[in-house]
């Protein structure tokens, strides 16, 4: 599978500088780059396919933009040309969004294209935050908030300009997203390995480190023993935070979830939460697969089918779901899971 990394961040936050630096890393030699929602680009010294429409030159190679419509079309075209040998066999794709972009539709498009069997998988979302102006952007621009909220990796840029990162900014970022490791880039310099997914990563690992997502928002680790009171038990993260109007809700469940209940859950989320659901990640203890947990990932109403980890990544075998978005109701989510599992159990008991 080819991981697709989404590089986002508000206007002037240093995305392109970071990208240019990253592409100097030999480890990223075979990387295709798509800039904004429209331009399809192959980059590295082996991968030059200039287009007459537009052409941008970087130190490491060339960027050519073939404006072909929307992102899905661009991705499909890029993968198709790779398959036909018209461009070198790139091993990863980086999408640099525009500074004003809402990241959710971009992630949605990547997942939709991945669903067409193109061999793509959504990798990490990397968000740059300007150490000097980031706080003002977060105060003023909703898109900036969304970009930070959905990140798997946050990169504080222009730290060289401010010396010490402003505590207010760090606090604000932590309020919005405590899951994502916060890295710093000085003059755009940071280690690619810390930011991007490797091309040989297993499917589960490509989901931006589900364990990291799940662990950061529920440090309590408390739960009710499976099967207690003959009801499915469910815990929610004690630290579900509300930054601006972005919610981060962590659900935890000890009892295994029947596969059909998981399917019904996804359908219900798509029905009722799609508009507000920026991202969902989860590790699920599926009753039919007790030794191999399922990893699920969703953006708005698009979900990947579950990928299966080889084994549980830790001793914690509970189902954990993290949802980021607007207009979500933790109570509703809890009760939905409870009702679905109870109904499925009832049907199974009747068979």
């Amino acid at each position: 599978m080819i991981p697709v990394t989404v590089l986002t961040g508000y206007l002037g936050s240093g995305k392109t500088t970071l990208l240019a630096r990253l592409l100097k890393d030999p480890a990223l030699g075979r990387t295709a780059v798509i800039i904004n929602e429209f331009g399809a680009v192959g980059i590295d010294h082996d991968l030059v396919e200039a287009s007459e429409e537009s052409f941008v030159e970087l130190d490491t190679g060339c960027i050519c933009c073939a404006v072909r419509g929307d992102l899905e079309t661009t991705l499909a075209d890029l993968v198709g040309r790779r398959a036909r040998g018209l461009v070198p066999a790139f091993e990863r794709v980086i999408i640099e969004t525009s500074g004003l972009a809402d990241p959710a539709p971009v992630l949605n498009a990547v997942m939709s294209e991945a669903g067409r069997g193109a061999g793509l998988v959504l990798g990490r979302v990397v968000t740059t935050v300007d150490a000097a102006t980031g706080l003002a952007s977060l105060d003023r621009e909703p898109q900036s908030v969304r970009q930070v909220a959905v990140a798997d990796r946050l990169v504080l840029t222009k730290v060289d300009l401010v010396g010490t990162p402003p505590p207010d900014l760090l606090e604000r970022i932590a309020t919005l997203n405590r899951r994502a490791p916060l890295l710093t880039a000085v003059y755009g310099q940071t280690a690619a390995i810390d930011l991007l997914d490797g091309p040989s990563a297993a499917a589960g690992e490509m989901y931006g480190g589900v364990e990291a997502w799940l662990g950061a928002d529920d440090p309590s680790g408390s739960r009710v023993p499976a099967g207690s009171n003959h009801r499915d038990t469910l815990r929610t993260g004690h630290h579900a935070r509300h930054g601006d109007d972005i919610q981060c809700i962590t659900l935890r469940r000890d009892d295994p979830l029947p596969a059909v209940a998981l399917t019904l859950l996804v359908e219900a989320l798509a029905d009722h939460c799609a508009v507000g659901l920026l991202r969902l990640k989860g590790i699920v203890h599926v009753a039919e697969s007790p030794e191999r947990p399922a990893v699920i990932h969703g953006v708005q109403h698009v979900f990947h089918e579950p990928s299966w980890l080889e084994r549980w990544p830790s001793a914690d075998r509970s189902t954990r779901l993290v949802l980021i978005g607007r207009g979500l109701s933790r109570l509703w989510l809890e009760r939905l899971l409870d009702a679905l599992a109870t109904e499925v159990a009832e049907v199974a008991g009747a068979c």
Partner: protein, 104 residues
């Protein structure tokens, strides 16, 4: 089906419907009637939610002003209820993106 199992499901569905009405921001009331059916009262009338007869390939029946709509799961039931209470609402159908098969 065990009685206790169906009772647990009924209780869970009642709780879910109450939470759903609140999340959807609708003005409606949810109550369990003595015969076990769930009644949702709203400005346009009342919905009655009950179990579908065993002979039918559904689990829930929703009576709406003399008409009946069926649902085969809690997820389907929510869809019926919300579309009835809020005619402007359209479900956002899930799109499942496939990955290369990794069998459990």
């Amino acid at each position: 089906m065990s009685t206790s199992g169906s009772e647990r499901t009924d209780a869970a569905v009642l709780n879910l419907l109450r939470a759903s009405i609140a999340m959807w921001g609708l003005d409606a009331t949810v109550a369990r009637l003595q015969d076990g059916t769930i009644a949702i009262g709203h400005a346009g009338g009342e919905l009655r939610i009950g179990r579908a007869p065993p002979a039918l390939p559904f689990r829930w029946l929703v009576a709406i002003e003399g008409r009946q709509r069926a649902a085969s799961s809690v997820t389907g039931l929510l869809r019926v209820v919300r579309s009835t209470l809020d005619p402007t609402w359209r479900p956002g159908r899930a799109r499942i993106a496939t990955l290369p098969p990794v069998a459990p």
